[in-house]
């Protein structure tokens, strides 16, 4: 996996295992639901890897979309991440769950793309992303309530996008995508205390950004 290590400015912890970065010991993986498919894929079974793709493509897309915005580029990154994973599957040692390894590849590829296209385009993507996709799912609510919720949702989304990458990813993985702390920390190759610290700082920033919309008298 050393060959997959990619520079991630502001995201030192995302180097792939063995890439010469500070070592973070991951918890032993007792049960990885993907273990059987991974073993078959490592033996060259393409159908097994395709099953892994079908199992994880949507989730990986969601994470990458939070980093790059929804669109063709996100889809390209997801495809590239799976292709890299397939080419490197024999080097996956099972010291983390397969999906955390896959997410690392996807996140590193996302950051590499963001660097390639430059900050201007990233800002554009962020703006476009924040302005789209704010449908309210509960159609039974009064228009005023719907409008308030839509505004809050929009503000939350923008606040997430405004976070620096090293704070945004913990929030995306833990609070939006619903990974456990242990899983999200493993994706970022952080110890849990360091991960929790970043998550807390990220939440505080987002809370501050939306304070005017969520209640009176908040600190």
């Amino acid at each position: 996996m050393t060959g997959l290590a990619l520079p991630v400015p502001g995201f030192e912890s995302l180097a792939m295992p063995g890439a010469g970065r500070a070592a973070v010991s991951l918890r032993p993986v007792k049960e990885d639901p993907d273990a059987g498919l991974v073993k078959r894929a490592q033996a060259g079974d393409e159908a097994a890897f395709e099953a892994l793709v079908r199992r994880h493509a949507d989730s990986l897309y969601s994470v990458v979309a939070r980093l790059l915005g929804r669109g063709e580029e996100t889809e390209e990154v997801v495809q590239e991440a799976f292709i890299r994973a397939w080419r490197s599957i024999d080097r996956f040692k099972g010291d983390a769950k397969f999906f955390t390894w896959l997410y690392r590849i996807g996140v590193n590829e996302s950051r590499r793309r963001a660097e390639q296209v430059g900050r201007h385009r990233e800002r554009t993507a962020r703006s476009i992303n924040a302005d789209s996709g704010f449908e309210i799912s509960d159609s039974s609510q009064a228009p005023g309530v719907k409008a308030e919720q839509a505004e809050l949702r929009r503000a939350l989304k923008q606040a997430v996008l405004d976070l620096p990458p090293d704070l945004r990813l913990p929030l995306v993985l833990r609070d939006i995508e619903g990974l456990s702390t242990a899983e999200a920390a493993a994706v970022m190759e952080l110890g849990e205390p360091a991960f929790k610290s970043r998550l807390h700082r990220a939440r505080l920033r987002v809370r501050k950004s939306i304070a005017g919309l969520t209640g009176k008298g908040e600190e």
Binding site: I83, W86, D175, E177, R203
Partner: protein
């Protein structure tokens, strides 16, 4: 002096205040060990400022959980299709 204001000036109160604020997310997530959960609860009982912040964080995290959006259809199938075209 107002009892609460008096309390705020006490070093032990400020020490607990700083500690609790630094651990509010862990408390919210239920990830503090039992003795530290109790420590946080004790301070929260005495500190309206921390209670407000905890409530605000709870609303924030709840809102974030609602941001998940479904990906476009057939992402996986397009990945498989691309993989099949790769040399």
């Amino acid at each position: 002096m107002n009892p609460l204001k008096k309390m705020v000036t006490m070093p032990w109160f400020m020490r607990e205040h700083r500690w609790t604020r630094a651990h509010l997310s862990e408390h919210l997530d239920g990830e503090l060990p039992p003795e530290e959960t109790e420590r946080a609860r004790r301070h929260l009982h005495d500190c309206s400022s921390c209670r407000k912040l905890l409530a605000a964080l709870r609303r924030t995290v709840s809102g974030l959980g609602g941001l998940r959006e479904p990906p476009p259809p057939d992402v996986a199938e397009r990945v498989v299709s691309r993989m099949n075209k790769e040399p």
